[in-house]
């Protein structure tokens, strides 16, 4: 897939009026997240990591966003969403059971742990969870569909699209305070917004993106 916003990097705006100090601090903290698990056991963390890689496959030409680390941090810091579905245990247990459940499914179907099976096979296990087909064992009655949709999928994509790397990828303007936006109409772009490469205009977009 070609780069839709060639050369665009939200972080290049860090020192411009688009970012205030609080935002710089918040994003610095996000970029400095510890990569080692603090809540999950190393084994479950490895399962989580493998699952995140399938939910958001990341390109090899840039450092990956450490999605599993964000989820582990959320569990470690007990960051709640502010509600819990009645049929679900608390967040930490939800993950412990769900990840163990994925691993069990891999073992029973392929004879290998989730991290060791082929990516396509991992996808298949995740699809089974999404469809609510995984039960028994580690799941302890917890619906795999709810685990997948409300926890694993939700937390993974939330972590990814809360990261500057993803913002650059989708051409999102990112932080915008004190400076917001001026040109509101359709097809209008402020000079500090990502320029999209229309076919044949990649060079121009790249040039413009160098100056956001």
């Amino acid at each position: 897939m070609t780069d839709q916003y060639p050369g665009y990097d939200v972080l290049a705006k860090r020192r411009t009026p688009s970012w205030n100090e609080q935002t710089r601090q918040a994003i610095n903290g996000r970029l400095a997240i510890p990569r080692e698990p603090r809540f999950l056991s190393p084994d479950l963390f490895a399962v989580l990591d493998a699952a995140c890689r399938r939910i958001i496959p990341q390109p090899t030409e840039r450092p990956p966003v450490p999605l599993a680390a964000y989820i582990d941090a959320k569990l470690f810091n007990k960051q709640s969403d502010g509600y819990r579905l009645a049929q679900m245990p608390d967040q930490g247990d939800t993950y412990r059971r769900g990840l163990a459940g994925l691993d069990e499914a891999a073992r029973s179907q392929h004879g290998l742990g989730f991290t060791a099976i082929a990516p396509e096979a991992q996808d298949e296990v995740l699809r089974q969870a999404h469809a609510g087909k995984l039960t028994g064992g580690a799941w302890q009655g917890m619906p795999s569909k709810t685990f997948f949709e409300h926890r694993l999928l939700n937390d993974t994509v939330t972590a990814y699209y809360g990261h500057p790397t993803a913002w650059s990828e989708i051409g999102f303007g990112g932080p915008a305070s004190p400076r917001g936006y001026v040109r509101m109409a359709l097809n209008r772009r402020d000079p500090w917004e990502a320029a999209e490469a229309k076919p044949g205009e990649e060079a121009r977009a790249r040039r413009e993106n160098d100056h956001v």
Binding site: P178, Y181, V182, R189
Partner: protein, 334 residues
């Protein structure tokens, strides 16, 4: 209620500027009326004109040319305002249509022609200036057409919303005003020494006075619309919709009334309107500073804040009004 008035630096700046405005107004009111007819030293600012107030000279060749030069100066002031304003606004519009550079070119030429005209004390219309001014007049008309078309295509058509935020209807008219004043100036220069100056056969002071009065009202309409959009959040925003209409009315009355008489009130009011044009820019500068991020966020606030270059249009028109008033006072035409 506590939260509806600004505090801190903004409040101080507004207070200082308001005070300065009042002082300026008083100073203008205390000034002797107008320069003597035989004083040829053109001064850039009307309120520092040297004034000795001689008896009214019945006919004076210099007076006509001086009035013409004042008109050039007025045309130039408006052209400068349009140049910067349209540059900013059309930059905001990303020059998405190539025609959007036209007002910049036209206003630049009008500005050059006006500088040239202001320095030129010869009589007789100048062909190049005439062409430039005619082009400016035309640019304004075509621009208005474009802007009307732009609004008509928006959902809602000619609604308040589109009048507020789509291409402004009144803006292109400003470049036409510059062209008109310049064009009148050239006509004025075409008068011979020993006749009462006329334009198209009518007394020049009256023609210029009336046209300027109409121009003022148009500009008031534009300022009124935009200040309404700003909800008149500061009382000073009422000034450009109250002072200039009175100036326009006084000038109109002078243009239609008896000529050859001193009109101190009209003169003071026009001078104050000229001052207001600059004060307006001052208020707009405070407005930009007051927006989020202030001047550090100039890339946004110059565009989103109140338009700094717009208010001097009033100055330009008031200058033209003063030129007309000079002619009217100097030349009883009946």
């Amino acid at each position: 209620m506590g939260t509806s008035k600004p505090t801190g630096d903004t409040a101080t700046a507004i207070a200082v500027l308001s005070g300065a405005t009042v002082l300026g107004g008083v100073a203008l009111a205390l000034r002797q009326p107008r320069a003597p007819a035989n004083d040829t030293r053109a001064s850039l600012l009307p309120w520092v004109e040297r004034s000795k107030a001689p008896a009214v000279p019945p006919l004076d060749s210099k007076a006509t040319v001086r009035a013409a030069r004042r008109l050039n100066r007025a045309a130039g002031t408006i052209a400068a305002s349009v140049l910067v304003d349209s540059a900013i606004e059309h930059y905001r519009g990303a020059f998405h249509n190539e025609a959007m550079v036209t007002p910049l070119i036209s206003a630049s030429l009008s500005l050059l022609a006006s500088v040239h005209g202001t320095a030129d004390d010869r009589r007789g219309a100048h062909v190049a200036r005439d062409l430039v001014y005619a082009a400016a007049g035309l640019t304004g008309l075509v621009g208005t057409g474009f802007h009307i078309y732009n609004i008509s295509r928006k959902p809602g058509g000619f609604s308040w919303q589109n009048l507020f935020y789509s291409a402004p209807l009144g803006a292109p008219a400003a470049i036409s005003l510059s062209g008109m004043l310049g064009f009148l100036s050239e006509r004025l220069r075409n008068n011979t020494t020993d006749s009462r100056p006329t334009i198209l056969g009518r007394p020049a002071g009256r023609v210029i006075g009336l046209m300027t009065s109409l121009g003022l009202m148009g500009t008031v309409g534009e300022a009124g619309l935009l200040h309404f959009r700003g909800a008149y959040h500061n009382p000073a925003m009422y000034l450009p919709v109250t002072m200039p209409p009175i100036a326009a009315a006084l000038l109109g009355a002078s243009a239609l009334g008896e000529a050859g008489r001193r009109k101190p009130l009209t003169r003071w009011w026009l001078r104050f309107t000229a001052l207001l044009g600059f004060v307006g820019s001052g208020f707009h500068i405070i407005g930009v500073a007051r927006n989020m991020g202030g001047w550090r966020n100039w890339k946004q606030n110059l565009l989103d804040g109140p338009p700094i270059p717009a208010p001097p249009s009033f100055t330009g028109l008031a200058l033209a009004g003063l030129a007309a008033l000079g002619l009217l006072e100097d030349h009883p035409d009946d």
